[in-house]
Symmetry: D2
């Protein structure tokens, strides 16, 4: 199944649906069933002490699975998260962007399942791992 | 095991640790191993269309388990979330606060496990369900 | 939404679909959107040392959500588990049955979400907590 | 951090701790922080219709993370599962063994986190995805 959008079209669509996307996220790499999404870490994503907050990491993982799902099925803004599980494993590095490496493991008629590893840019050990399920609305774009 | 703080002390401590708490959250009820935490829904918590965003609900669930854990063990700011699972079940009602009803199911030496149901205020059916594990730092206060 | 089966009809149906049910499980209580399911603990459910194994507890939680879903929607054997999360919190008591207290939190057209607390019979503190999502096949009976 | 056991030593130890291991599982590949574990599918693992049961897949994922954790830290039988999340994505192929490809993403002092993809042997698309957390007992061997 081929991609329905390239990285530019995907970002344009995400910005249309979620206005905060432009300032928060960037698509670093897009391929069939895979995306690398960057969180451009800014003060509003930080906890006191300088580490990226849990909700910001949740948001990055959620947006990554949403992005690759839309890139595969085309414009279906109404896809909704039904389940998310996240393991926080290490403290993010201060002052570094976060990169979510996301694979879509299943893209069914009704459900899509994605798997995410989150890294502080330049680090080898992941800071978090997440899996999310999206429910797809009936019909196409 | 009795509470180590009352609702006022808990809010004061949360605000000290997470400055955004004052504007986002309020403790509606506090009891042994239980807390009801309110998300004072504002524009910044909303998706286009007026529904509360997933990361805002994640943040509410996470803060509820953190709050009741601290209320039980006393000031140990360094407790960190290690795992979170959230099921999004219904669309939140527009214009209503969200209430997280949280129970601590386990409070061990090393791990605490909490369980959360999130409701739109005044609605009977939950919008989301979450469970979170916190890792507790060694030692007390 | 009323129950489509009583406890006897539910057990008969479960035994038809999963032959091992008769020897493993019993319906202790059945109500709208709620079931208490008992695991009749036997040697085959135990780890060395006498504690009930993780897969046996998983199986109990999974069967409880399946049972209450079928009791609510009627005979639709093809409902399948899509996601399960389980927190193991305490060691089960030796020589005691396990009781799963299960609530269905959502019963949608496509997905059902259930929430389970597992207790060693006679104990107040839960040994495990689980949440499961079932995907429902289109159509009724 | 190097492996503390080779595949033969690992299997011997697993069989000592869990007697059923010999008949159910085989170590196909063992490397630093990684193991491929095979479920030798037999009638007792099947649902009516010939598909591998959910509890059997749970058991495979659980055993894979346990195995690689022990292989890395040495003989610490008392490691216990604290959290498991599993997404069931496709029906396993009839008559095929299941292979769990497991990576340890974190091996901390207190917690280990592993990530598992389960495949029907010879198929490219995973049937399930799981992540599990183990709590490690204090001290070594």
């Amino acid at each position: 199944m081929p991609l329905q959008m390239n990285a530019e079209e995907l970002m344009a669509y995400l910005e249309e649906v979620f206005p905060q996307v432009r300032s928060d996220f960037a698509v670093d790499r897009l391929a069939e069933m895979e995306v690398d999404l960057r969180l451009k870490v800014a003060d509003r994503h930080l906890r006191p002490g300088g580490t990226v907050s849990g909700p910001s990491m949740f948001s990055l993982a959620d947006c990554a699975v949403y992005a690759i799902t839309l890139a595969m099925v085309g414009r279906r803004a109404l896809a909704v998260t039904t389940n998310a599980t996240i393991d926080f494993m290490r403290k993010p590095a201060a002052g570094a962007d976060l990169i979510a490496q996301c694979r879509l493991l299943k893209l069914g008629r009704v459900l899509a399942v994605g798997d995410v590893l989150i890294f502080s840019e330049g680090e080898a050990a992941p800071v978090a791992r997440a899996s999310l399920t999206y429910s797809l609305p009936p019909g196409g774009g």
